[in-house]
């Protein structure tokens, strides 16, 4: 019993780390531009496939076929290279997203940017399907497929790695946001773009940066999760949705709240899965809706005031 609980705790923390990272990615663009990427799920899927493709290309011959890469393909520093490259590529895609789908619509009534980012995502996904096909692909973990025994619980090393990487990244981002000049400028833009411009801060450049960073996190998230689940162009939607739920649970405009919300959601999900795996999603979303009914701006969110 205890072992099962421990196991649920570890996998909850691991997936929660991914949710938290992506929740933070939503928060980064929302606070700076009041918009976010509804295609983040597609970005995650494409990030994962880019990662697989890079591993395949980096290990010619010895890595096996594309759809079933051998574990050796992820070794020798290839995995981190693939992860970084996927992050960078998706970051560049984020710039395109901002220019094509956000900037023409941001700040205008009707929230057309919701639809335009969805449209962007659908196009991206369909192109991905054309290139890689619909079948899921296995991505080897650099730490192999073995299971570590931890007080009776079987823990996969990739899960631990995901948790560690996510936590390190979030720490770095938190410090960046709070301590560096750039982070302070981002928070200034978040508070009010016009006042930030009065400081001489180039607001558009900051917004572009926010989207690049947010998209890069999605790409990285895809590469991190793929070895646990397996890469698929459809894997991202559920992850992004839960990450977003975590974000609104913690409060979209509060980065630390988002991190909390992401972990809470991961733990909640693995907790419910202990009891009834098939009700996992439904239970999670019901709880979110309940929380929102009580606190529409999340647990740590600021109350938005309508100025009359």
């Amino acid at each position: 019993m205890l072992a099962t609980l421990l196991q649920a705790l570890v996998s909850g923390l691991a997936i929660g780390g991914v949710y938290a990272l992506l929740a933070l990615s939503f928060s980064i663009t929302f606070t700076t531009t009041r918009t976010l990427n509804f295609a983040q799920g597609e970005f995650i899927g494409v990030g994962a496939f880019l990662g697989v493709t890079l591993l395949y290309l980096l290990a010619p011959g010895e890595g096996g076929s594309f759809s079933a890469l051998a574990p050796v393909a992820a070794e020798g520093g290839r995995y981190p290279v693939a992860a970084a490259a996927a992050g960078a590529a998706l970051g560049a895609l984020g710039l395109l997203l901002f220019l094509a789908a956000i900037r023409p619509f941001a700040g205008k009534p009707g929230m057309s940017w919701v639809m335009s980012t969805i449209g962007f995502g659908i196009i991206l996904q369909s192109l991905g399907l054309a290139v890689w096909g619909p079948a899921p692909v296995n991505m080897p973990s650099p730490f192999g497929d073995g299971v570590i025994r931890l007080g009776g619980a079987g823990v996969r090393p990739q899960e631990v790695a995901v948790l560690v990487v996510a936590v390190l990244l979030m720490l770095a981002l938190d410090i960046t946001l709070r301590r560096t000049r750039l982070g302070k400028a981002m928070r200034a833009v978040a508070h009010d773009p016009a006042v930030a411009a009065l400081m001489g801060i180039p607001v558009t450049a900051i917004m572009l940066g926010a989207f690049a960073l947010s998209s890069a996190l999605a790409g990285l998230g895809g590469v991190l999760v793929a070895p646990i689940a397996s890469a698929s162009l459809f894997m991202g939607m559920g992850i992004a949705l839960k990450a977003f739920s975590g974000a609104i649970l913690g409060g979209l405009d509060n980065p630390r709240g988002c991190i909390f919300g992401g972990f809470a959601l991961g733990l909640l999900e693995s907790g419910v899965a202990l009891w009834q795996a098939q009700w996992r999603e439904i239970a999670v979303f019901l709880i979110i809706i309940l929380v929102l009914a009580i606190r529409p701006n999340g647990i740590f969110g600021r109350r938005a005031l309508d100025k009359v």
Binding site: F38, I118, G119, Q125
Partner: protein, 602 residues
């Protein structure tokens, strides 16, 4: 009437085409057009009129489809027609379910909640045993006619008939009181509530209409196929339903049909490759957003208008001095007390825009509220109109407590207001803006409006007549057909006044009615306010134009730092040294009263 004939002719042509066509493939395309039209027509109410984005309509489609499936195949073993009806009811119930978050959550979070609803439904029907998962549910009873299952051509006729019926019913509903109420939600919820629209109830209604039609479409698909599985229920279906409306033209009566025809045909052409179908869908979505924000209907409508091309008047006419404003029967007698506010307090963090404010308004007078920037004048107006809830204190209007009453209910009691930063429904015509003021005074209910029954016509006609009279009173009659947002600023202010008067108020709250007006317009406004008082309406105005305030007010209250510092007749207030100090910052006077300190510690 012409519209009904045209719609019937289009439906007749479609039915005729179905009768002539032999090919099952083409019949199926016609059937799909009908199905998607049903989805789009309801979605148009939600998206095009009420302005609410739902990204989870596939879930409601599923509710109808699986409802019909389970009701006919399970132990219940209901007949197909009854099952169809109940399935629509189930979907409508689910519509209430997704409407509930929309009452609390806004913006991107709401969009994401509806999206989650669609995804959760998809998971549910894939994984839960009762829905048969990817295997699906077989042997769903098809609809029958005289005991015989319908043939393909009859299915087409059925959806055409249903589509025509739905279109005509929705047109009844949307051209009247309810249509205007939906549009007001899309434009500005705060203003909608201020003119008496019950925002929550109206929003739920829009969700339910969209849910019911999607459910109907789902049930029909399940019954026609006699089979349903989880492959039908995808995120792409939700987006497709949204796209039908966006591409066809949100908020237009022709939009859903244009969208359903074009997109069904395009999809049929590219359906052979899944990824191309999705690519086209995404590309069309972006195309619609970039190039035709009002959809195909907007493009076609623009062409028609250019062909006609008429120049609209931009100036107000002469006010009809003999015009009489509509009033409620129970008008208070002049000189009696109308509103008593006592010891109102409000704080936002460290700022306290209201501290221990007491105010008493006498019926039949013009009261003015003045004070420097940030003195708390707008906050007081907001508290009196129910937009902001005071932290403490009492408000009694005609002896009844008003604190905690929702804005639309405050309006129903007889308090109307205008806004400092103009909150007109800009896209709507002047007439529709003012008709919205009549919303809460009209008594025609949902069913009578939907079915176009005589009580609904009568109520619409009576309201229209009252609105004409109000427009005449203000000299706006010549501008009635123009979009309110296209008028010059001074006239927009007057339209907002007309809208407030249409609620037939006892008390009219005006938040800076002369802001942005030139001296000439300000003088005209003064005359107008005096005429409104002469009709027996009490006014409370917040204003900075002192010539106006001192010229027309019976009684002036001065606020500073959220507290009342002086009140009396205009002459008394003008002579008060404390008022001088508040406005001009005279140094010696600044020390005279023990001025409350505003969030200044240290």
């Amino acid at each position: 009437m012409r519209h009904a004939l045209l719609a019937t002719a289009v439906a007749g042509l479609a039915a005729l085409a179905a009768a002539v066509l032999e090919n099952d493939f083409y019949l199926r395309i016609l059937f799909n057009i009908g199905i998607y039209f049903l989805c789009a027509a309801g979605m148009n109410v939600l998206l095009g009129f009420a302005g609410q984005k739902s990204l989870g309509q596939a879930g409601l489609f599923a509710a109808g489809a699986y409802g019909a499936a389970l009701l006919t195949t399970s132990a219940l073993d209901l007949g197909p027609w009854l099952a169809l009806l109940l399935a629509v009811g189930i979907a409508a119930g689910c519509g209430v379910l997704i409407a509930v978050p929309s009452l609390r959550v806004r913006g991107p979070s709401l969009a994401m909640v509806t999206l989650a609803f669609g995804i959760v439904t998809e998971k549910l029907v894939t994984e839960a045993e009762i829905f048969g998962g990817a295997m699906g549910i077989y042997a769903i009873k098809p609809l029958t006619f005289a005991g015989v299952p319908l043939e393909m051509v009859q299915w087409v006729w059925l959806v055409v008939a249903l589509g025509l019926g739905l279109h005509l019913l929705l047109r009844n509903l949307l051209t009247g009181r309810y249509g205007r109420a939906f549009l007001s939600l899309q434009a500005d919820e705060v203003a909608a509530a201020a003119v008496g629209v019950a925002v929550h109830r109206t929003k739920v209604l829009a969700f339910v209409i969209a849910a019911a039609t999607c459910g109907l479409a789902g049930a029909l698909v399940a019954q026609q196929n006699q089979y349903i599985n989880s492959d039908f229920i995808t995120f792409h279906l939700s987006i497709f339903i949204l796209l039908l409306v966006l591409f066809g033209g949100a908020g237009s009566f022709a939009g859903p049909l244009l969208g359903a025809v074009t997109l069904t045909v395009v999809s049929a052409l590219v359906a052979r490759w899944a990824w191309i179908e999705h690519f086209v869908q995404g590309a069309l979505l972006l195309f619609a957003l970039y190039v035709m924000p009002k959809g195909l209907a907007g493009v076609l409508g623009g062409l028609l208008r250019r062909a006609r091309g008429a120049e609209a008047p931009r100036r107000a006419g002469v006010p009809g001095l003999d015009a009489v404003l509509p009033r409620r029967p129970d008008a208070p007698a002049p000189g009696t007390s109308l509103l008593e506010a006592s010891r109102l307090n409000k704080a936002y963090g460290g700022v306290r825009p209201a501290r221990e404010i007491s105010l008493s308004l006498e019926a039949g007078q013009i009261h003015a509220l003045i004070g420097p920037n940030g003195a708390g004048k707008s906050t007081l107006i907001n508290m009196l109109s129910g937009v902001v809830r005071p932290d403490s204190g009492r408000i009694a209007f005609r002896g009844q407590a008003l604190e905690g009453v929702a804005p639309h209910a405050v309006c129903a009691r007889g308090i109307a207001r205008t806004f400092q930063n103009l909150r007109l429904f800009r896209e709507l015509s002047v007439r529709d803006n003012v008709l919205l003021g009549q919303h809460a005074r009209m008594r025609n209910g949902f069913w009578s409006s939907l079915l176009g029954l005589p009580p609904a016509w009568r109520a619409e006609r009576a309201a229209a007549a009252r609105v004409e009279e109000i427009l005449r009173f203000l000299g706006l009659a010549a501008l009635a057909g123009q979009p309110a947002g296209a008028l010059p600023y001074g006239l927009q202010r007057r339209v907002e006044l007309a809208r407030a008067l249409a609620t037939e108020p006892h008390l009219l709250l005006l938040d800076e009615p002369a802001a942005g007006l030139n001296p000439q317009e300000t003088a005209e406004l003064g005359q107008l306010l005096l005429r409104i008082r002469a009709q027996g309406i009490t006014l409370l105005l917040v204003e900075h134009h002192m010539d106006l305030v001192m010229g027309i007010s019976d009684h002036v209250t001065v606020l500073d730092y959220g507290a009342v510092i002086a009140e009396g007749t205009p002459a008394q207030v003008q002579a008060d040294p404390r008022v001088m100090a508040a406005y001009l910052g005279t140094e010696e006077a600044a020390e005279a009263p023990p001025a409350p300190r505003l969030a200044v510690g240290a």
